[in-house]
C-alpha cells in the first residue's frame, strides 16, 4: 500500500486538491487484462464457428456428388460399399427409435422423481437423493453401454426369450440404458422449475381445500410446465447425441424400424464406427461422416434453442 501511495504521488507531481475523481493516468494494464479476458470468452464463439466451418466444407463436397434426393430418402444405408447408397432416413429413424425408448423410460421416472424432490421430500432426504442422482449423471456412458450388453440384455432375454431378434443387440436395450442417463437430467431441471414456483400458489390452493396430490399435479406441475418441457427437450437432444451406448448395445444394422427388439444403426453410431479407422480425406466415406454430423448438429441445435428459450421463460416469470 505504501509503495502504491509513493508512486501515485510521484506520478502526480504536485497534489492538486481540485482534481476530478478520475484516474490520474490511463491504466493500460487494466485495459490489457480486460482484452485478454474478453479473448477467453471469445474462444467459445470461435469454437462454434470452427464447428460450423469444419462441418460445412466437407458437407458441400458431399452434396456435390450425392443429390439431396438420394440423401434424404429411405434407400439402403450403405455409404462404404463399392456401389454406395445414402438413404439417411434409415439412420435418422434408428436414432429416433433409441431416443424414443429412452424417453419412454426416463420421462415418467424423471418427472415423478422431480415431483418427489420438490414437493414431498424432507430437506434431509433431498440432500441425500440429489447427489446420488448427480452421480448417476456422471457415470461414463461406456460403463452404461457395457451394463446394457452384459446385464440388461441377458435379463430381458431370460424373461422374454424371443423379444431380442439379434441378441444381445436391440434398440430397446440401448434405449433403456440411455434412459438411465436421462433420468437425472429430467429430474434435476424439472425439480429446479417446480421449486421456482412461488409458495403463494401452493398456499392459495391449500386454502381452497386442495389435497397435496392436487397441489402437486394441478397447481405446481402446470405452473412449471415450460421448465419441464425444457428438461424433456434437453434430454431428447442428449439421447439423440449419445454415442457409446448405441455403439455397444444397439447393434448396427440400418433398420428403419421403431421395433425395440430390432438392431438399429444411429447417426452417432455411424460416425463413431466409421471414423475410427484412418480414412483418407476427400473420399466420399470421409465426407459422409461430415454430412451426417451436420444433420445431427442442426437437429440438436434446434432442440437446444427451444430448451434455452423455455428455461429462460420460467426464470423470468418467477425470479
Amino acid at each position: 500500500m505504501e509503495a502504491g501511495d509513493a508512486t501515485a504521488t510521484r506520478a502526480l507531481g504536485r497534489p492538486d486538491p481540485s482534481r476530478p475523481l478520475v484516474a490520474a493516468r490511463p491504466r493500460y494494464g487494466e485495459k490489457l487484462i480486460q482484452a485478454l479476458l474478453a479473448g477467453c470468452a471469445l474462444i467459445s464463439v470461435v469454437t462454434t464457428t470452427a464447428i460450423v466451418i469444419s462441418l460445412l466444407a466437407p458437407t458441400i463436397g458431399f452434396f456435390g456428388e450425392v443429390s439431396f434426393g438420394q440423401f434424404f430418402s429411405f434407400d439402403d444405408w450403405a455409404p462404404t460399399q463399392a456401389d454406395p447408397t445414402f438413404g439417411v432416413f434409415r439412420i435418422v429413424i434408428g436414432t429416433l427409435s433409441t431416443s424414443l425408448w429412452a424417453l419412454l423410460f426416463a420421462v415418467p421416472i424423471g418427472l415423478l422423481s422431480a415431483i418427489y424432490l420438490s414437493e414431498y421430500a424432507k430437506p434431509r432426504v433431498r440432500k441425500l437423493v440429489k447427489p446420488v442422482l448427480e452421480v448417476l449423471a456422471g457415470i461414463p456412458t461406456v460403463a452404461l453401454g457395457l451394463f446394457a450388453v452384459t446385464f440388461l440384455s441377458p435379463e430381458i432375454q431370460d424373461v422374454f426369450p424371443s423379444f431380442i431378434k439379434t441378441p444381445p443387440f436391440a434398440a430397446g436395450v440401448a434405449g433403456l440404458a440411455i434412459g438411465l442417463l436421462l433420468v437425472p437430467i429430467i429430474a434435476s431441471i424439472s425439480d429446479d422449475a417446480m421449486r421456482a414456483v412461488p409458495g403463494g400458489l401452493r398456499e392459495g390452493a391449500y386454502a381452497l381445500g386442495a389435497t397435496k396430490l392436487k397441489v402437486a399435479t394441478r397447481v405446481v406441475f402446470p405452473a412449471a410446465i415450460s421448465g419441464i418441457v425444457a428438461s424433456i427437450v434437453l434430454a431428447l437432444s442428449r439421447a439423440v447425441g449419445e454415442t457409446m451406448i448405441v455403439l455397444l448395445a444397439a447393434g448396427g444394422t440400418a433398420n428403419a424400424t421403431f421395433d425395440p427388439g430390432q438392431s438399429v444403426l444411429t447417426m452417432t453410431a455411424f460416425i463413431g464406427k466409421t471414423a475410427t479407422g484412418d480414412i483418407a480425406t476427400g473420399t466420399i466415406t470421409y465426407d459422409t461422416i461430415f454430412a451426417v454430423g451436420s444433420l445431427l448438429f442442426v437437429m440438436t441445435l434446434a432442440m437446444n434453442f427451444v430448451a434455452i428459450r423455455l428455461v429462460r421463460r420460467f426464470r423470468e416469470v418467477y425470479e
Binding site: I43, L112, V142, L180, T268
Partner: protein, 314 residues
C-alpha cells in the same frame, strides 16, 4: 343496449357457471377417504420412481463389480492390452494416456474458463448484442453432442489448420473444448455468488477493477470454481466418443507420450475390450469400469463435499 350484449358471451357465462356448480357439487359429494387413498397411491408411485433411479445406479456399480471381480488384480494397472490372453490384459497405456489427457485439459481449461467467466460477470455489459451472443453461444455449446466435438477435433486439430496428427495433445484440446462451457457456467455462478458489497468496498478503498477481482472476487469464489472444474474433469475422464475420432482408438501396447505417437485412454480401452466377442474380455472391461468408477466417485464426492463445506453465507 340489450342488443350490444353478444349472444356467445352469455352462453359462455352460462356454461362456466354450470360447470363451476357441477364441480362444487362434485367435490362436496366426494368421499374424503378416496382422496386419501389417491394421495397415498401417488406417493407410493413417487417413491417407486425415485427407488428405480437409485436402484439403477446401485445396479450399474454392483453388476460391474461382480462381473469384473475375476480379473481384478494388480495386472490391470501394470500390464498393457492383450488380444490373446484376457488374464494378462491390463490398462497401463490407457491409464497413462488418460493422465496426460486430463493434465492437458486442466492446464488449458482453468485459465480460459475462469477468464471467460470473469469477463462475462465483471466486465461485460449484457445489454450489448455481442455479449448476449457469447452467452447464448456458451449455453448452446454446453448441449452440443460430444461426437460433434470429435468431428471438430478431426477436421481442425488432427488435420486442417493445426494438423497435430493423432497425438495426446490433440485429444486434450478436443476434450478441453468439450468441457469449457461447463467450466465457464460453473465459474460464472461462483463469481456471481460474491455479493456486490465486497466489490464496492474494495473499489471505494481505491483498488482498480482488476485489483478488486484478483484480491477479493477470485479468492472468494475459489471453492465454487474448484467444484465446477472437478466435475468437468470427471466428465472429461469418462468421455470416449470424441476420442474415437481424434485417434485414441489405436491399439497401444507401449507407454504413450504426450506430444508424439499413438495414445489410448481409459474409456476407449474399455470400449475396445467390450467390443470383443469373447466374454473373458468383457470381464476385463468390467474391471476397468470399476477402476474408473472408483476414481470418478472419489472426484465427485470430493466436489460435493467441497461445495457443502465452503458454501459461504455472506
Amino acid at each position: 343496449m340489450s342488443r350490444r350484449t353478444p349472444e356467445p358471451m352469455s352462453e359462455r357465462t352460462r356454461l362456466a357457471s354450470s360447470g363451476a356448480r357441477a364441480a362444487v357439487v362434485g367435490s362436496m359429494n366426494r368421499q374424503p377417504g378416496g382422496d386419501v387413498a389417491k394421495g397415498n397411491i401417488f406417493f407410493a408411485l413417487l417413491l417407486l420412481a425415485v427407488g428405480i433411479a437409485m436402484l439403477a445406479l446401485a445396479a450399474v456399480i454392483v453388476q460391474s463389480a461382480i462381473k469384473g471381480a475375476p480379473s481384478f488384480g494388480l495386472h490391470l494397472i501394470t500390464d498393457g492390452p492383450s488380444t490373446i490372453f484376457p488374464e494378462k490384459a491390463g490398462f497401463r497405456p490407457a491409464i497413462i494416456g488418460s493422465l496426460y489427457l486430463i493434465l492437458g485439459v486442466l492446464i488449458l481449461v482453468v485459465p480460459i474458463g475462469v477468464g471467460a467467466a470473469v469477463y462475462l460477470e465483471e466486465y461485460a455489459d449484457s445489454t450489448r448484442w455481442w455479449n448476449r451472443l457469447i452467452e447464448l453461444n456458451i449455453q448452446n455449446l454446453a448441449a452440443v453432442p460430444s461426437i460433434i466435438y470429435g468431428i471438430l477435433g478431426l477436421a481442425f486439430i488432427v488435420r486442417g489448420p493445426l494438423s497435430l496428427g493423432f497425438i495426446a495433445l490433440a485429444g486434450s484440446l478436443t476434450l478441453s473444448l468439450l468441457v469449457l462451457p461447463t467450466v465457464i457456467i460453473a465459474a460464472r455462478e461462483a463469481v456471481r455468488a460474491v455479493p456486490p458489497s465486497i466489490r464496492e468496498g474494495s473499489l471505494a478503498l481505491g483498488a482498480t477493477q482488476w485489483q478488486t477481482i484478483r484480491r477479493q472476487v477470485l479468492p472468494a469464489s475459489i471453492p465454487g470454481i474448484a467444484t465446477g472444474v472437478i466435475l468437468a474433469l470427471s466428465r472429461a475422464i469418462g468421455e470416449a466418443a470424441p476420442l474415437l475420432l481424434v485417434g485414441a482408438a489405436t491399439f497401444v501396447t507401449f507407454d504413450p507420450q504426450p506430444l508424439s505417437g499413438g495414445y489410448s485412454a481409459m474409456p476407449v480401452q474399455i470400449f475396445n475390450y467390450a467390443l470383443r466377442p469373447q466374454d473373458e474380455f468383457k470381464v476385463v472391461a468390467a474391471a476397468g469400469v470399476i477402476l474408473m468408477l472408483v476414481v470418478l466417485l472419489a472426484m465427485n464426492s470430493f466436489a460435493i463435499w467441497l461445495r457443502n463445506r465452503y458454501e459461504q453465507q455472506w
